[in-house]
Every structure is written in C-alpha cells, then in structure tokens.
Symmetry: C2
Subunit: 214 residues, 2 copies
C-alpha cells in the first residue's frame, strides 16, 4: 500500500480521502459490519467503480482508515518532539510534565475519540472472528507499533532518555494501557480513577536516563 | 447480586449454573448480540420463567458469566499462591520462573480462551455503544480489579515483594497487557513476538523487594 501511495495522482488522492472521510462517518453511524460499500459511496458522492479502483473491500478501506489515523497521531508526536527542550526532561518531574502535555495532545479524549474508539473495537472483534480479516489487521497493527517504536526511540534518544525494556515492548505496553484507558473513559469511569494517570505511572517505570545513574 | 447469592438454594444454584453454561455456548456460537434469551433457555432445557427468576436480562446474564470467569481465575491464583515458597522468589530470576508458571496456569491460551476472549470483546463493544450496559460492565470490571489487587497484594506481601506503583494501577496495567496479549495470540501473532514475554517484562518493572535494597 505504501509503494502504491507514492504514485497516486492528486485527483486520485482526493477521491481516496473523500472515501475515507465518508467511511469514517458511515462506520460510526451504522457500525463497520452494518455499513455497506454502497452507503459509503453514496455518502462520498462516488460510484462503486471509484470505490473499487481504490479499495478491494470494506476491510481494506478500514485498514486504510487505521493507517490514516496512525499517521495523524505520529505527526502530532513528531511536532511535539520538535518543540521539546532536553533540559525540560532532566528530572522525573520534568518528564511527567512533558508527558502530560503529550497525553493532552494525543491522549484519550471522550468527545473526539469516541467514534474512532468504538469502530476500532468493532473492527478488532471482526478480526478476532474472521482469520481473513485478522491477517491484515495484525499486519497494520505491527506496522503501527514498529513506526511508533522507531519514532519514540529517536525522540527519547534526543532527550537523553531510554526505555528500560525493548522499545517495541514498551510501545506494546503503552498502547495496551492507552486502549484500556480510552475505553474506560468512554464507559464512563470517573475522572478520579485517572486513566491518564495510569499511563503516566507506566511511563515512569519504563523510562530511565540513557546513562544509568552511578 | 452478592447478597442474593448467599441465600440461593442448591437447586436454584444448579439452575443458574446450567443457564450460565448454556449461555457460554450460545454466546460463543451466535455472538452475544445475535443470541436470544429463548436460545439460551432452549440450550439449558429451561423455560423463560426459570430464566427470569434468575436474571433480569441478557446483559445481566453476561455480567454473571464475567463474574464466574473472574472467580475461577482468582481461585487458580489463590491455589497457586498457597503452593509458593518465599525462597523461590528471592531473585529476579526466581520471580520470573514463578511468573512463567502463573501465566502458564492463567495466561492467554489460544484454544481454551478463544471463545471467552471473543465474546468478552463483543460485550465490551456493546457496553461502549450502550450507556445502560456500560454502567454494569464498568462496575463488574471495577469489582474484578479491586479483588485482583487485594489478592495479588496479599500474595506479594507473603513473598516479601511489592509493586512500585499503587496495586490497583499495577492490576490495571497487567490486565490491559493481558487482554492485548490474548487478542494478539488469537489474531495469529507468531510466538516469537512473545505476548507472554511482554507481560513478564511488565511484571519485572512493576515489582520490587518490600524493603528497598540499600
């Protein structure tokens, strides 16, 4: 998909983006399983032909949505990293302050994330039930985690920090905690149970200075 | 529900257990949403009257299933704890060995857990979509985590160990990692990505001797 994306014309890219925008709304309204390709085409104002010249199936469309969401989160993280000053993260308290800002930027948020969180949970369920969906889902998840691990490692390195476990393990644990925290917020867990506070504590135990203290 | 359970007669208890067993099979086959109360009654060999004298709704039935699964896992953990010798966990390597056995006993397992994992994911989705389901689901999840935190804290205490974060936070993080690992296994993640290995590493960073080393 990545190779293909490099050769897309601007017009084709716009068609694709409109189909993705429409899919997001239609999936949120009708559920991934309940939504038909026709409904997505209608909402986007395109024919089925335009759809199939971009996506082979509804599942491929959803994976492309996941890919787009991932790129947006990674871009937010990169922008954040560029504004960071290594001096800010010299102390554990400094790290926590920075982390709180990161979570405020990309963290679980009841309104903005609700629709995405619910449709992701549904797609994960479809993948758990159907091995032909599972393969693509797992590959997309793995690509996301690898990119995230690379981005965060580069960021930590610039800040003189490191994970005390493998970066890929740290990302797995952080994403699991993040997904759980997002769902808790959406289920209505009171703020004082602090889903974000738990991610902060996890980061706290996962991070260390690059040079172990003597 | 707990108060009520204390006064259940043995016959009523058997009816309830048979309804729960039947529900497990029917939910696994038809999905929680797709399963009707009639189908559960038929599989159990009971009338709707028997059902409604035990459960107010399909959602309450599922919450009772969650409660039963939780009690089974806690019982396994307790049995395990009773066989443990504090001398086994004096070193980080000893802790890891014990943890591996615990995970082998209660950890994500592709065959035994598949049906439960899939139906839990579906129920979580139903809760995310429906606030009236969310309240009960959240309460059940909270009760599970509180009990688990109490059980594990008692166990760690007997072993001269402690969590470096609040026990309830540790349990949240461990359960999130456990759910993620279970799903990865079911989605077909290869063994060398070691979902269990990640839980081990998480436990590694979360545990410390009760008296900090001097």
């Amino acid at each position: 998909m990545t190779t293909e994306s490099r050769v897309r014309s601007p017009r084709r890219e716009r068609t694709r983006e409109r189909l993705l925008d429409a899919a997001f709304d239609v999936f949120a309204e009708l559920g991934v399983q309940g939504a038909s390709i026709e409904a997505v085409c209608e909402a986007a104002g395109f024919t089925r032909g335009a759809f199939y010249s971009n996506f082979a199936s509804k599942e491929e469309l959803f994976l492309a949505l996941m890919d787009r969401e991932k790129r947006r989160h990674l871009a937010t993280l990169e922008q954040f990293a560029q504004r960071l000053d290594p001096a800010e993260v010299r102390s554990p308290e400094g790290i926590r302050t920075v982390l709180r800002s990161v979570l405020a930027a990309v963290g679980p948020h009841p309104d903005a994330e609700r629709r995405w969180c619910v449709m992701s949970a549904e797609f994960e369920l479809l993948a758990l039930r159907d091995p032909s969906v599972a393969a693509g889902y797992l590959a997309e998840q793995r690509a996301l985690k690898d990119e995230l691990a690379a981005t965060i490692s580069r960021l930590l390195d610039a800040l003189g920090l490191r994970f005390v476990v493998e970066p890929r393990t740290a990302v797995d644990l952080l994403l699991a905690a993040y997904a759980e925290a997002s769902r808790a917020v959406l289920l209505g867990a009171p703020d004082d149970e602090g889903p974000n506070a738990r991610i902060e504590q996890l980061v706290d135990v996962l991070l260390a200075p690059r040079q172990p203290a003597k």
